[in-house]
């Protein structure tokens, strides 16, 4: 059973996806329009969500009689004092509170989570009964030492020490390779799901993404065809128009 409103939603999503993907062919007004729509929607959504948060977490408790909520509200308002000449000094009050609180709470936890626990995790036995564990532990310990030595910058990296740090550089490069590989994995996931959607695939998670249902999804290829005709016609009309010269001198 096809729901007309859901179908319109699915087609809107399909057209917007195709308008974005049209950039792969060439810069065009369809792409730019989607860009503006995205910026507008994001800003509007963020504003509305923040406003709702303010009402729920600040105003509602005050109206419910919890007057202590006035204190953070006033402190928050003081941030706007920086926009006036006369009272701009007042914004230092919430700022200094935020910095003091932030630093106090962060330093200990950063030291614990990122420094002490990580150092402890490199204190591994270098000879274990299992050969694979031994190799893994050796890679972690040697890799950590060599990589950190690469970032000791007060000494020129040449001679024996240079070869030592160069090995550290290779560990950094291997890490970058892993990051690049997984980035490709992630980017492919994005395009695969979009193609699944554009093909109206029944296996596309229609419900999990709240984009209609598989019933409406069967009609996505019509939107694909319609867009290709419109885009093809636009490109045909523009085929002889030379690109505008830059006005910059």
């Amino acid at each position: 059973m096809v729901d007309l409103f859901a179908l319109i939603g699915v087609w809107t999503a399909a057209f917007l996806t195709l308008m974005v993907l049209s950039f792969l062919y060439k810069e065009n007004p369809f792409y730019r329009l989607t860009e503006y729509v995205f910026v507008g929607l994001s800003s509007g959504y963020t504003f509305a969500a923040t406003l709702r948060l303010f009402v729920n977490q600040a105003l509602s408790p005050i109206f419910a009689g919890q007057l202590e909520f006035f204190v953070p509200l006033i402190l928050g308002l003081l941030f706007y004092a920086q926009f006036t000449k006369r009272y701009s000094i007042l914004y230092r009050v919430p700022l200094s509170l935020a910095i003091g609180y932030g630093l106090g709470i962060t330093i200990w936890s950063v030291l614990q989570a990122y420094f002490l626990r990580q150092i402890r995790a490199t204190m591994l036995p270098l000879f274990t009964g299992d050969i694979l564990t031994t190799i893994g532990n050796l890679v972690i310990v040697i890799g950590t030492i060599l990589t950190i030595s690469y970032f000791i910058l007060h000494r020129e990296q040449k001679g024996v020490y240079g070869r030592f740090t160069k090995a550290g550089k290779y560990f950094v490069l291997a890490t970058l390779g892993a990051v690049f590989g997984t980035t490709v994995l992630g980017r492919m996931a994005l395009i695969i799901q979009r193609i699944q959607f554009l093909l109206g695939d029944a296996a596309f998670p229609w419900r999990a993404l709240r984009i209609g249902t598989a019933d409406e999804g069967r009609f996505v290829p019509i939107a694909l065809l319609a867009f290709l005709i419109v885009f093809g016609f636009y490109m045909y009309r523009k085929r002889d128009v030379k690109p505008e010269k830059s006005t910059k001198t």
């Binding site: 729920n56 936890s109 626990r117 997984t182 490709v184 992630g186 979009r194 193609i195 709240r210």
Partner: protein, 281 residues
Amino acid sequence: MRKMDIASDPRLTYVLLILVIAVPILTHAVLPVPVTDTTRAVYDFIENLPPSSLVVVSFDYSTSTVPELQPQATIVAQHLFLRPLKILFVAQWIDGPALTDAVLEAIDRGNKIYGTDYATLGYIPNTATLIGMTADIQSFFPVDTLGNPTQNLPIIKQFPATRQAALVITFVAGEPGLSAYLQYWESRLNIPVAAGSVAALAPGFMPFYNSQQIIGILISIRAAAEYEFLEHAQYSQVPIGLSGATSAMVAQSTSHMLIVLMVVVGNVAYFVRRRGKERSK
């Protein structure tokens, strides 16, 4: 000259990529995915949680990373709803509450009752709230996302602070995300943390897995497919395809093969061309 232009046109790559992705999707090819240790660790931990344990699920991503993280969130949420657990949904990113609703709509919630077995608290605007809710949820979330006063919710009466949580799982696409839970929940309160991560961030999270600061990592859409197979094996009522991840796996493999092929061909072409130039000199 013209021939070379076509070969170096990136649009040829796009066409090839679309083809190698579209063919497996159209043929509905599905292959089983070997389960990695990082995924199994998360599954086993949730499976072994004692009944009535509190789990906090944090949606720390936006719509741009939905293809990677929404399948994970869906299949993990389904697992949580199949077990006798109490669940609180929060979000460190402002899109999170809407994405939470989408997940809750997609899964089978069984006989779990809103307010008693689960609740959606919504957006965590800052670190102070993240820390504060470990001591008192009601003060920092006076109302839930539906506008109900949290003091009236049975789940909040049973668990007034998140320091009682047996697990927090964050689906994370950047900052704020995992680091906040590591710093303020795991380090200070020993609350076990799991992460569902976009692929690009996963290598950076591995040291935390090795140091046992996080119990496991779900890496991108692949982990969602792995988790789906694990869950389906134990709970046959969970259909393969709920998250949409499984159907994407073959296309994922074919697209990776194309990229590997292009890297190899590109490098061979470079060296052949360089040798040709050296000979001509």
